[in-house]
Symmetry: C2
Subunit: 203 residues, 2 copies
């Protein structure tokens, strides 16, 4: 499929066949296109919890506005913003040096990154990390279609309940879900606003 | 290109050939994959300003941390969060009804959407719209690669300066840029954290 075909074919699946599990190679391929998503300054401030266990999906149902995709899907991906940024910057430094980048250049770049991060208050830091997670989410949504299965992005999750049920640390903030599997519903025609409504040029 | 190939080939171009302008059909195709990006509840709370005019790009340079991509690119896309949500919900209603969806179903769905929106404070509303814009940005980044040209996502923009220079209304908040054109630099090897660092399962 071309990217254009992927984008047009993708839809938010509302129900999945609970008997059909995604093969491991498909899951692996999906995680790879997610992992390669770009992030600001390459800080990669998110982590994804991959949930295939039926009992745990069941426990998340009430925390997901009772949307049945959570339990009927094969794998439920929970995109978490990672607000513990300092270790990420340190890791980025180590990997950059290990990859042979010049130390002075790495230090200069990371100095700028540290300055950017230091200027954010807690809420801005979370919002920034969450926006990066959404780029990864987008790769996940398109990736599922490209790989021949279906997915449903789920903003309707209760972060505090997810954190408690999943035992997440405070620094990993559940942000958005992506239920993945084989859909049993059909896409409806896409309804999008017009080109003129979405794009503009002010002269 | 497969989606996997697109994701791996895509990179943030740091310089563009200012003499090479994107042909209109390429720009059109890019805007289409952006327009088809999914948004929460399909509210589509963003608009993109498309800037090809050299003089205006020049005026944005200082508002873009003096990053030369803004002036060397062919088209600079400014993704704006659209926080004027009520008209969008109304428009969605009209289009849904025009598309033949049952009125009761449309009303029920939009009632839920209105409730969701009403529960957001101003800052949450902006953050929510910005996250949706990032999904569209992701389609733009991948779309450029898929269409055979290059792009550079730019968080380093000063929203207040952009608003003033571009004469934007308060309800359209400049959020992130995407400079598009033909790159003169080469991608460096991608540096990404490992699978185990980005994905986890808690048992």
């Amino acid at each position: 499929m071309t990217f254009d075909e992927i984008v047009r074919a993708r839809y938010a699946a509302k129900s999945f066949d609970p008997a059909k599990t995604l093969p491991p190679d498909k899951v692996d391929a999906l995680l790879e296109v997610i992992r390669y998503a770009p992030t600001s300054f390459n800080v990669q401030p998110w982590r994804v919890m991959v949930i295939a266990d039926a009992e745990r999906k069941e426990r998340l149902l009430a925390a997901s506005w009772n949307q049945p995709q959570v339990t009927s899907c094969s794998h439920h991906l929970v995109f978490c913003a990672n607000v513990d940024l300092d270790p990420l910057v340190q890791r980025l430094k180590e990997r950059s040096l290990a990859a042979g980048l010049p130390a002075a250049k790495v230090e200069g770049f990371l100095g700028m990154v540290r300055g950017f991060i230091a200027a954010l208050d807690d809420r801005e830091r979370l919002a920034w990390a969450q926006r990066q997670a959404y780029i990864a989410l987008a790769n996940g949504m398109n990736g599922a279609t490209a790989l021949g299965f279906d997915a449903c992005p789920m903003e309707g999750i209760v972060p505090a309940m997810y954190s408690e049920i999943l035992g997440l640390p405070e620094t990993l903030v559940p942000t958005v879900g992506l239920a993945c599997g084989y859909a049993t519903d059909e896409p409806r025609p896409k309804l999008r606003f017009t080109r003129d409504e979405m794009f503009f040029e002010r002269v």
